[in-house]
């Protein structure tokens, strides 16, 4: 069942569940962050509308900088502004920022410890029709390996807004990973959110869970659907799971992950990212050292994407509900 303490969206499994792009929450959060602190500035590389920076730009044109199609400059100019006390948000498609400008982010933002939030608006395969050049499947790995750099991957638009506001007041450089396509609203304004704190969104009504599913970002809803389906049907076939929303990939909620693994002894990770180096790898690093258990990884298996609808692509690359369910069954059979 959905964790009743977290005040999640009661319509989450309904056909009429509202769907909003995760990036929209960033746009709203940035506007609010700008209202709360006059030091918040926004820089964009010719994608103001699709990255949703447009709300901020319209309200605070004097605090908005149009960089042009120049992502290396986007990162470095933002670092310079942060050096003068600004809280700089930079946005582009994740493939270009942090894809194109990784070294600039490492040297001038993280190495310098400057308050810049790198916002990658089109993370994952669900970018869709634009095709493989525009589908960032490596961005979480690229960012989480950099010292000083926090990484957050919200599961819906409401969480994205909260994450944006939290990152606007934290002192550290950060990467905020967003998705382009509309996805179901999972949380509510009342759902708790704190940087680096993971929450269990789904849990068995009674007894212990047999498998722990850890999901991040836009696949969270599919992870919850899989959990619900696994607990329905014939009683003898039912599998009890817990589903964790791991939006905070760095800092990571180590204790919550170990606690989950202790209970379930088996883990499935779910993310719209290469299996190598992403959130699943971060989970594996923790469990290998602290509480080794069998893990199955849902994600892209060392492949580039292609054009298609988000649903087609998620299925083709093995990240749909059925794949999550199969991974749960597979990990249950492992010793």
């Amino acid at each position: 069942m959905l964790n009743p303490k977290l005040k999640l969206n009661p319509k989450i499994f309904n056909a009429d569940c509202e769907q909003v792009p995760i990036r929209k929450g960033f746009g709203e959060g940035l506007l609010r962050a700008g209202e709360l602190d006059k030091n918040v500035v926004a820089l964009c590389a010719d994608l103001t509308e699709s990255t949703q920076m447009i709300f901020f730009k319209e309200k605070f044109p004097e605090r908005f900088v149009e960089i042009g199609v120049a992502e290396q400059n986007l990162a470095t100019v933002a670092s310079g502004m942060a050096a003068m006390g600004k809280i700089s948000f930079i946005s582009s498609y994740a493939m270009f920022s942090p894809g194109r400008n990784w070294e600039q982010i490492r040297t001038t933002i993280a190495y310098n410890d400057r308050k810049v939030v790198v916002v990658g608006s089109h993370g994952g395969i669900s970018v869709g029709a634009d095709g493989g050049t525009h589908q960032a499947l490596e961005d979480i790995a690229l960012m989480r390996v950099i010292p000083n750099m926090d990484v957050v991957s919200p599961c819906d638009s409401i969480e994205a807004k909260k994450a944006t506001l939290a990152l606007g007041t934290s002192k550290r450089p950060a990467y905020l990973r967003l998705a382009r396509d509309k996805t179901p609203i999972i949380t509510t304004e009342e759902t708790p959110f704190a940087l680096g704190k993971a929450e269990i969104y789904w849990l068995p009504e009674v007894g212990l869970a047999q498998v722990g599913i850890i999901a991040t970002g836009s696949l969270m809803h599919r992870a919850l659907l899989a959990a619900k389906e696994l607990e329905s049907g014939e009683e003898s076939q039912r599998i009890k799971t817990k589903v964790m929303n791991l939006s905070g990939i760095k800092p990571i909620d180590k204790n919550a992950i170990i606690t989950l693994a202790r209970e379930t002894k088996r883990i499935v990770t779910v993310e719209e990212h290469q299996v190598a180096g992403g959130m699943g790898s971060a989970v594996a690093e923790i469990l290998a050292q602290n509480f080794p258990v069998p893990i199955e990884f849902i994600g892209v298996q060392d492949k580039f994407g292609q054009s298609g609808t988000p649903d087609e692509l998620v299925e083709h690359y093995g990240m749909g509900v059925q794949f999550v369910k199969e991974a749960v069954k597979k990990v249950l059979g492992r010793k």
Binding site: V41, A70, N73, V77, G80, Q104, N112
Partner: protein, 287 residues
Amino acid sequence: MLLTEEKIKELEIKANEIRKSIIEMLLVAGSGHTAGPLGMADIFTLFYFHILKLDPKKPDWEERDRLVLSNGHICPVLYATMAHAGYFPLEELKTLRKFGTRLQGHPHREYLPYLETSSGPLGLGLSQATGMALADRMDGKDKDRFIYCFMSDGEHDEGNTWEAIMLAGKNKLRNLIAVVDRNNIQIDGFTENIMPLEPLVDKWRAFNWHVVEVGGHDFRTLNEAVEEAQAIYEKPTVIISHNIPGKGVHEFERDYKWHGKPPNKEEAKMALHELRTLGGKIRSEHQ
């Protein structure tokens, strides 16, 4: 700012001291760059002892001018100048590139907080300086201080440099002044053989910058160039300074082989002798 004959003499002596420090620290370090630091010694001296609004006793003074060193590999001249200006003891220069030092092989502001930025990877300084100048303009502080960026000619090969030049030109950042160390050398050879930059003046002008050309070793004309840059109101200014790499040590001058290596013991001895006698102008080596 007015530069008197007396002050020029003072700066000449100071620059010579800084050059000696550069040779001494590179010898102890056993690695590092020689030509660039010697070539920029006069400009660093002019800025730290005449131009910049700064207070070495209060390095984080909010109202200070900002100086971004983009080509971090010439940091021996930055460290030596800062030490001579009183930011830290001269003795510390001997720790250059050693384990635990504040004077990292390329500058890192986590280790030496007096730095405006870390640097080393080329092509990143001008855009950070552009960001600083933009922030100051947003805050209405662009009339109170200048943002300077020292950069190399070789790093014009980097696309990021031109992205910054375009953006600063677009935004007419009058509070931004770049100083290009036009010494014509980079690691693999002469710039015009590796990747021709000329006509460099025309290129900057085409990107809506005001351009001043100057020789890099005459304090009077250098000071005039900075005064002109400060007076330009509608554009950012670049001072393209024609510098002699290795300046001050005849053996090292104009030879790209000295770009990325330190002097050995014999070479350092020769260099220090030349600097102590000001190229033979002074007979006694006693200081």
